[in-house]
Amino acid sequence: MSDVWPWVAAAALGAYHGLDPSMGWLFAVALGLQERSRTKLIGSLVPIGVGHLFAVGAVVLALAAARLSISASLLRGLSAAALVAFGAFRLYRPRAHPRLGGMRVKPWELALWSFMMATAHGAGLMFVPVLLGVPAPTHVHGHFGAVSALSSPSAPAHHALVVQAAALVMVHTAAMLAVMCTLALAVYNWIGLAILRRAWINLDLIWASALITAGVICLVI
């Protein structure tokens, strides 16, 4: 079972980001409505996905690099501290976000926007506990997080883990895009925007609490 849960977690986190209107599906709806074009809506999701992928990917790379130079227990402690601190910041300044938006955005600007929103949201950071919980591929000894503090991971083991992490990021982003696309099309075609007034609960509060919880779990797993 323990082989499956990181994949489930990665997909679930992606689906959660997909649900959040501030992460992109609502932007895609607005861009589609501005030009009365469903093609524009769907096309907008591509750069949004790319930006998100890079935001999460950057954190994964940083984690992989860190694992080579610092011990697993230190990495675990630092990750936990970062998650708790970031969650606390999101609670303290819930409306802090990058100011680079506009409605006339080129694809690369949309990708940059998505990258910044995902980063400011801590989307990549939330991936850390998932990766720390990844069991090693069966043929290689070691565990991404639970390796003894005395031993560094061997090069092949590290390589395999990075490949696996990359696959997890892809699954995460694919899940997000699937949810985003479904929601955006549903709102654009059938549901209408009035739903926002009723259903847009304060996901930022939930997310900030989740970051802090993940930080705590990080120490426990």
Binding site: F27, R95, G102, M103, L193, N202, D204
Partner: protein, 469 residues
């Protein structure tokens, strides 16, 4: 405070906002003309935001039921706006869980901006913060703050000029949460020098600004010499909102003096809007112009011209006697949320006109209500003779109720209504199919103070911006 669900006064689109519940309160900026004109000898009243009861089922309907005074004197309250509005739902910078709660109320003379909390008791608002003229001067280099609009990323404020009373005027930004002055908007202002109103087309990342005059050109009253030389504003400007750069200056012709209120289409996909011109120095007419985007370039075209009305010179103030006519003086206008009807206030002749602007290039006159006026002095059924005329007009979100106040600006009031304006607010009922009538039972008089802009509980037709059509 963070809400769990979006503030229920926010609407994604203007169409949805038209279904909003009826307003129960109106907020009116009032000022003491004697202090503003420097003749109160320290005995004048404080300027105030007055709360009007607009709930017809209330026993105090149509009365002033609350009043919050500014801490200083002589502010000359004028325009004001909300801390947050429907633009909080804009998808690229969403913050839907803030509250529409604070009114930001500039003193056009004092340059102070008052932050007024309308909760928990909307009848009893309180001043919770004052942004000093010095902070605005230091951080933005501006003074005489005027229009407030809640943008997706900050609160935008226009200002008539520099701290010493000259130009340029422009726009500065306030932080959404702390209300700190963030600095001036313009990175490159191009040829723009005069300022007054501003608004935007969020769907195009484009801002529009208009031109009145520098503080020195307006504070002592309309300067006839400057007017005859066509030195008040006669252009509007188009801006790149994201890069904060001047894009185009649209010239209306020098005789079209004073481009004031800007009313862009509420639908963010429609790249056009309406600007009023107070007076033409050629023939005293007033006009409404449509600006629009065509093949990547912005342009402006006159779509309504309102002629002056002949009048007995005995009924005219000294400056107008030689002309034997009353200029319409279009000083404000308001566009319904469905972008269908434009209401034009003629402060000189004492008339509110309703135009069907479904085709923004071919408006059709569909209604007229007369009240007050320099020469006409059309009485109000409830109050009898009135002076002044409908000046600031505000329309309810459903488009059915139009509220009008009668004062323009202390020193200018004296020039056009030398007997001294006695303040009032009146209401006009609108037929959704077109046409309108004065509500004979609604008349709110003000004593020793004059009302200017009115904003309605939950938003109105000049308070909110939308990112969805």
């Amino acid at each position: 405070m963070e809400l769990w669900k979006p503030d229920q006064t926010f609407y994604p689109s203007p169409t949805l906002a038209m279904r909003a519940p009826r307003e129960r309160f109106g907020y009116v900026a009032t000022f003491d003309p004697n202090t503003a004109l420097g003749r109160a000898n320290g005995n004048g009243r404080h300027d105030a935001i007055c709360v009007l009861d607009l709930d017809p089922s209330s026993p105090t309907y149509g009365q002033v039921v609350g009043r919050v005074e500014m801490p200083g004197k002589g502010d000359e309250l004028h325009h004001f706006g909300w801390n947050a509005c429907s633009s909080a739902l804009c998808p690229y910078a969403p913050h839907p869980h803030v509250e529409r709660r604070y009114l930001l109320v500039p003193g056009l003379r004092s340059s102070r901006i008052h932050v007024i909390d309308t909760k928990p008791d909307p009848r009893n608002p309180r001043v919770v913060k004052v942004i000093s003229a010095e902070e605005i001067a230091e951080r933005a280099g501006y003074s005489r703050p005027h229009t407030i609009h809640c943008g997706p990323d900050a609160i935008y404020v226009s200002a008539l000029g520099s701290p010493n009373g000259d130009g340029p005027g422009g726009i500065f930004l306030l932080d959404h949460d702390s209300f700190d002055v963030l600095g001036r908007f313009e990175v490159d202002r191009g040829p723009q020098f005069l300022a007054y109103d501003f608004w935007w087309h969020l769907g195009y990342d484009v801002g529009i600004t208009s031109e009145w005059g520098t503080p020195k050109m307006v504070e002592g009253g309309l300067v006839p010499d400057l007017l005859l030389k066509n030195e008040y504003g006669h252009a509007i400007h188009v801006w790149d909102l994201r890069r904060r750069r001047h894009l185009e200056r649209l010239e209306l012709g020098p005789e079209h003096q004073m481009t004031l209120e800007l009313r862009p289409a509420h639908d963010p996909t429609k790249p056009y809007g309406f600007v009023g011109v107070v007076v033409s120095t050629k023939d005293l007419s007033a006009s409404i112009w449509t600006w629009y985007l065509e093949r990547g370039k912005w342009a402006v075209r006159k779509v309504i011209e309102i002629p002056p009305e002949p009048a007995d010179p005995d009924k005219l103030p000294p400056a107008l006697k030689p002309f034997k006519a009353v200029p319409p003086l279009v000083t404000d206008h308001i566009l319904s949320l469905d972008d269908k009807f434009l209401y034009v206030a003629c402060w000189g002749t004492g008339e509110v006109r309703q135009y069907d602007v479904s085709d923004p290039f071919a408006p059709k006159l569909t209604g007229s209500v007369r009240l007050g006026g320099i020469a006409a002095r059309t009485p109000h059924p409830k109050a009898g003779a009135v002076n002044g005329a409908p000046q600031m007009v505000e329309l309810s979100r459903d488009g059915r109720r139009l509220y009008a106040s009668n004062s323009l600006y202390a020193s200018w009031d004296e020039q056009f209504y030398p007997d001294g304006i006695k303040g009032w607010v009146a209401k006009i009922d609108v037929n959704p199919a077109g046409g309108m009538t004065l509500d004979p039972d609604f008349f709110v008089p003000f004593k020793d103070e004059r009302p200017h802009q009115i904003h309605l509980e939950g938003g109105d037709c000049s308070s909110d911006s939308y990112c969805f059509p």
